[in-house]
């Protein structure tokens, strides 16, 4: 009986955000015929997994985990992804962009081109293959201005497309999950969380995260205002030189366009302090693909990106 305690206080903002996310996941499980949870090994989807444990344990998750692998991912993250799925004893489905390239569903101009935008093709193919009617993802509204206008239950037509002008009204916590065959919804249980909330929750729950989120020495190239990590896909152009700096990643995605920030934060506490003080948005600092134009994310979402 050691765990029993009585609540004498009002709930914290993290308690309320957690309960909201659990409620959303249970609605998906109960009302959607064949849902999946998108798990990349990144920090937001790591939080989603803990929320799913809170929502469904002691039973198994009533959905598989799905990863759309660009094969441009950091090896530390892929190792972590596989290990975490195994520890949880949950089914992990991986669909790779190589398959889409082989089937000529994706045609790259250059082999080292960023693959983020093409994830949509592989994702839509996986949705069709498994007949998923709902995919839960770790997107947050504070990440980007197109996300800020998206519903928690985001309806997609039979082409997988998002129509920002024609979204279903979303009132109270009453989610309309009904779709016609071929249509599907994307569900974002942590829509209302910010980057800082995520880090505070990771600390509160003592969640393990891939090592590249912590400060480590890495070879990078300065390009514009970003630091590009040197890898087999990224090497210096003329006039650029390789530097070895102490950096950490704020997001983990395609290696060709995900940039670390200079940092010496080696613990979660350090990261929380840095996040609270930072003056640059998460995507602004770390995603080259969102800097292409003012509407990059909006355009990608209209193509089926999550």
């Amino acid at each position: 009986m050691g765990n029993l305690h009585i609540i004498h206080r009002s709930l914290s903002h993290l308690d309320i955000l957690e309960s909201e996310a659990i409620h959303i996941m249970r609605e998906v499980a109960a009302e959607c015929g064949n849902p999946a949870l998108l798990f990349s090994g990144g920090k937001d989807s790591i939080v989603l997994l803990r929320l799913a444990e809170k929502a469904f344990r002691p039973a198994k998750f009533p959905f598989p985990l799905l990863h759309i692998d660009t094969e441009h991912n950091f090896p530390e993250v892929i190792d972590f992804r596989d290990r975490r799925a195994k520890e949880l004893g949950e089914r992990l489905i991986v669909r790779s962009m190589e398959d889409s390239i082989r089937k000529k569903r994706v045609i790259l101009k250059r082999p080292d081109q960023s693959r983020n935008a093409f994830q949509s093709v592989t994702l839509l193919d996986a949705i069709a293959e498994f007949k998923f009617d709902a995919c839960m993802g770790g997107a947050r509204r504070d990440e980007e201005k197109a996300r800020a206008k998206e519903r928690i239950f985001s309806f997609r037509d039979e082409f997988g497309q998002w129509d920002p002008k024609n979204q279903r009204p979303e009132l109270w916590d009453l989610y309309n999950t009904r779709v016609h065959p071929g249509e599907n919804i994307r569900v974002f249980p942590i829509s209302n969380w910010t980057e800082l909330d995520i880090w505070q929750y990771i600390e509160q729950e003592k969640l393990e995260i891939p090592s590249i989120y912590f400060a480590h020495p890495r070879e990078v190239i300065r390009r514009g205002s970003s630091l590009l990590p040197v890898s087999h896909l990224v090497s210096p152009m003329e006039g650029e030189k390789i530097e070895r700096l102490s950096v950490r990643f704020r997001t983990v995605g395609d290696m060709t366009c995900t940039c670390p920030v200079e940092s010496t934060a080696s613990t979660l506490q350090d990261i929380i302090i840095e996040t609270a003080k930072t003056r640059i948005t998460e995507r602004g600092a770390t995603r080259m693909d969102d800097q292409t134009s003012d509407a990059s994310m909006e355009l990608r979402k209209k193509e089926g990106y999550f």
Binding site: I7, H13, H23
Partner: protein
Amino acid sequence: MKNIELLRFITAGSVDDGKSTLIGRLLHDSKSIFEDQLSAIENTTKKRGLSGVDLSLLTDGLQAEREQGITIDVAYRYFATPKRKFIIADTPGHEQYTRNMVTGASTANLAIILIDARRGVLTQTRRHAYLANLVGIPHLVVAVNKMDLVGYSRETFESIVKEFEGFASGLDIKSIIPIPISALAGDNVVERGQNMPWYKGETLMGVLENIEIDHDINLEDFRFPVQWICRPQTGEWHDFRGYMGRIESGSIRVGDEITVLPSGKTSKIREIATYDGPLLEAMAPQSVTLRLEDELDISRGDMIVKSDNLPKLSKEFDAMLCWLSEEPLEMGKRYLIKHATKTAKILLNRIDYQVNVNTLEKEEGLDSLAMNDIAKIGFRVQQPLASDSYRHNRSTGSFIVIDEVTNNTVAAGMMI
């Protein structure tokens, strides 16, 4: 970690009232705008041939909006101070977007109604106040903006407040907080400024940080709509059967006597289970798993309540309805209702009257409703629903109406 509270609010007003500028100001002065966002809007301001930083550009999210210079949908913004985390639902003020305001308002603790000091109380001001009240927002801030353009005149402010209060006395608003501000210059938003020494009240940020919100949630009446049944049926959990859901209102303790609705069967709480271990007591809005002393037949859509505090159980309801769809309401057509965790067929059988949200006059004798119409209606449900009046309980008094053919959400309803 330090406990901070969560406050959700909406801003209602048109582009011309300076709503986007106000939100930009709140974010800017609370240091919630990031440098890259600031440099992006500086660039855009320059591209449009203007100078300085147009803070309204921060909230204009979509390409379509930036092209047209309008706000077309509800956008959510986040910022935090050491006292609270804030979620803003930014809703447009145009006439055709009543549905967006109702959407944004449905989860808000507080509404900021913007009035242009030069124009005073307008039709849209009345509409916004009526809607905020209809949706049961407990706190209303009347922000009289553009005070810099009326010479920071106390008389202008007071006469606008008087006119607003006159109108609002016909409504049932609990607390109205008037504040004279200039979103452009920053007066009384986060910083007090030098221009209105006659104003002794709190700044807008002061109100947002300090207003009491503990009582916004109903902590009296325990209501637990069952979302999901947990039956692992494996190994050590072979006999585990738990009812998962979120406590929508009230609180519950181990040993409490409960009733399951609509069946009326009774039992006692054996355990309040969570991933982090069992609790002796839990309260709204926690998500928990309830285990009962007895094996009862309970499924999703049922509601667990305390036996000494029962909601209304009925198939016949009166409600206020806000029609959201471009397809008008058709009497006699079958619709679905989603109420708590239950979805059921309904028959709308009466429109008592429609409310003209501009004059608050009631119009009778209608047999259809169009988008943005608000009406008192009567309906019958196929199966009995356990509900409370919306005034008493926002969670168990609210519902949405879904068109069974198109699957669209066509209306939002509030039980009377």
